[in-house]
């Protein structure tokens, strides 16, 4: 259909894993602009593996991934330019400073090192004093903030956070959620958040999927989450039911 906006992420029949063995399989997923998807699942259920496949870090064994209509396999650079991935804190280059890391990401994304949706993000997130210290000297929380700040550089349409809000202080966590919420509300962005914090899903996500043994075992669309929210603790109860089933 001409003029139709492609989904921020379209995953069809994905199987991916390590050393030729599938860890996740039969994954069909669509995330529209304006969606905030909560990715849930027990430890080892395949959440991080799925996100690594979506960000082109591990081989796809089957299926197809499109980011804003661009096939990841056919045009990896173009597809990756449309996503921002908050790297796990320990994976950041410890020998660089946060400033150097942000400049590295900005130079690759061909934007300035302060092209954030909010001005003065290091001050806002509270890592400005650490900008010129080696990342290895930063706490895990500071690393997570630097990582999220790097993912936000150039404001790509799809933002992927792999348990990045874990370990953040409440103020920073709230501020980050506020920024992401306003971006999603604008309709030009989508967020995928893998987390174990059910209250986060309950408060910010408008859809969620639950992974079990590498497959999507349950989905909640906007209507289902809204219905669950009607009762106090309803979302948590619904998710806990899925977990215990």
């Amino acid at each position: 259909m001409p003029g139709r906006v492609p989904p921020a992420l379209h995953v069809r029949g994905l199987a991916a894993g390590y050393g030729g063995a599938a860890v996740v399989s039969d994954i069909d997923l669509q995330v529209q602009l304006g969606d905030w998807l909560g990715l849930l699942g027990a430890n080892g259920s395949g959440k991080s593996t799925l996100l690594r496949a979506i960000t082109g870090q591990i081989p796809m064994l089957e299926g197809e991934i499109s980011i804003s209509g661009i096939n990841l396999n056919a045009a990896p650079e173009r597809a990756k330019s449309l996503l921002g991935y908050a790297v796990d804190g320990p994976d950041l280059p410890g020998t660089l400073t946060p400033r150097q890391y942000l400049e590295l990401v900005a130079s690759i994304r061909r934007c300035t090192a302060n092209a954030w949706p909010v001005e003065g993000l290091p001050n806002h997130f509270g890592f400005a004093p650490w900008l010129d210290e080696p990342i290895a000297a930063c706490s895990l929380g500071t690393r997570a903030k630097v990582s999220i700040a790097a993912a936000l550089l150039g404001a790509p349409p799809l933002l992927i956070l792999d348990e990045s809000l874990n370990g953040l202080d409440p103020v920073s966590s709230w501020r980050i959620k506020q920024i992401l919420r306003s971006m999603v509300a604008g309709g030009g962005h989508a967020v995928i958040l893998s987390t174990h914090m059910l209250e986060t899903v309950s408060t910010v996500c408008n859809c969620a999927v639950f992974l079990h043994n590498g497959r999507i075992a349950r989905r909640w669309d906007a209507a289902a989450l809204e219905a669950a929210r009607a009762a106090p603790g309803g979302v948590e109860t619904s998710i806990m039911q899925a977990l215990s089933d």
Binding site: G56, P59, E77, D91, P93, L96, Q100, L104, A137
Partner: protein, 386 residues
């Protein structure tokens, strides 16, 4: 609860089992390429060594005692080096932060550190014995078993004495770090090269170079400086321009090899970024390449002035340096997480090519080109996760 000694042994067995599992979990295609390609190459090289030793058996026999002493000396040094590595690896294992809360006395930890050398020591001694027996028998050595035994004893003596000498109760006393070492190891150097590392993608050179160990860097840089100094002194004294240029070349290439590190190519911080393989790979080579060529340009100019080396010779050597650096760089890119292995593979490939050139002429360079192309393909595949 297991004692530290039991822990070290179990952990080593676990590491071996994991390594075997990882090798088995490789793509079948990769396993086939490694097993068939590497296997064929190994068989060929063993055959070459066999032929060379058999052919030169008479010449070797003339220098019997001297060669035996040299062989024993070499295996003894190998034993010392292997023991140092084993002790360090064992000590590093026992200094992990997650072991710190366990109530193990430092004397027991030191004992465990020594026990950690037993398995690798035994395996390496057996390997030395087998290799020595094979080489001495191929060389037609009289009483080859006794000679092999002597080489093995030299290795074992070097290993055991070093391991015992390093057996100090340092493990438990070492302060345990909760996080990785904080300061970048190459900070001053990284700061110095910073201005040429701002091109897109910025800071990749600093990232790669700063990960290198200061000690090995100083060692290689020191060797490069010594080689240049000796080469230039001889060349100036004897008016041998070729020697001067060759020394400059070796030193410049060593600078490149010292600074070469492609590990960031495998980093989750770089791979989800919208950058192609070629610019990302080039970013890893940029700083080493620039510094190597600058070093050669400087030293080459001095050689030209001091020894009257023709400009044509220096220009040809520059081209060769660029080529050698490119091949080494591509090998490193093909094995981004295995820096030492990449260096070993590169040096072996070059030495093998030079040796085989005697038999096959320049046609052998086609194989070197194919090898380089294969490494490039491997690097590209792993970067794009295909």
């Amino acid at each position: 609860m297991a004692s530290p000694v039991q822990f070290v042994w179990r952990y080593q067995l676990l590491l071996m089992r994991n390594a075997a599992r990882q090798a088995w979990a490789c793509h079948r295609r990769d396993t086939l390429v490694i097993a068939l390609g590497g296997g064929l190459l190994l068989v060929h090289e063993i055959d070459v060594i066999h032929i060379e030793l058999t052919e030169h058996a008479a010449a070797l026999a003339k220098h019997g005692m001297r060669l035996l002493a040299a062989g024993a000396g070499m295996t003894s040094v190998a034993g010392i080096l292997r023991a140092r590595r084993s002790v360090r690896s064992s000590a590093s294992l026992l200094s992990r932060p997650w072991l710190a809360p366990l109530p193990w006395p430092s004397e027991t930890l030191a004992q465990a550190q020594l026990s950690g050398c037993v398995l690798p020591g035994l395996a390496q001694t057996l390997l030395t014995a087998a290799l020595a027996a094979l080489l001495f028998s191929w060389a037609g050595w009289p009483q080859c078993c006794a000679a092999a035994l002597l080489a093995t004893a030299a290795f074992a003596t070097g290993f055991v004495t070093t391991a015992l000498a390093m057996h100090a109760p340092t493990v438990g006393q070492r302060p345990v770090r909760a996080v990785e070492p904080i300061a970048p190891r190459f900070t001053p150097f990284a700061t110095w090269i910073a201005p040429i590392d701002r091109a897109r993608p910025a800071w990749c050179g600093t990232w790669a170079v700063a990960q290198l160990r200061r000690r090995s860097g100083v060692l290689l840089f020191g060797s490069a400086a010594i080689i240049t100094a000796i080469g230039c002194t001889i060349a100036i004294a004897q008016a041998w321009p070729f020697v001067a240029v060759a020394a400059d070349w070796v030193a410049a290439h060593m600078i490149f090899l010292t600074l070469l590190n492609a590990l960031p190519l495998a980093s989750p911080a770089l791979r989800p970024q919208p950058i192609g393989f070629v610019p990302a790979a080039f970013a890893m080579l940029r700083i080493p390449l620039v510094l190597s060529l600058l070093a050669f340009a400087g030293a080459g100019t001095i050689s030209m002035v001091a020894t009257g080396a023709p400009a044509r010779l220096v220009a040809a050597a520059s081209g060769l340096l660029l080529l050698a650096n490119t091949i080494a760089g591509i090998t490193a890119i093909g094995l981004p997480t295995q820096r030492s292995l990449a260096l070993f593979v590169y040096v072996s490939a070059v030495l093998l090519t030079l040796y085989e050139q005697i038999e096959y002429g320049y046609a052998i360079y086609v194989c070197l080109a194919a090898f380089t192309a294969f490494m490039f393909r491997q690097g590209r595949r792993s970067f794009y996760a295909r």
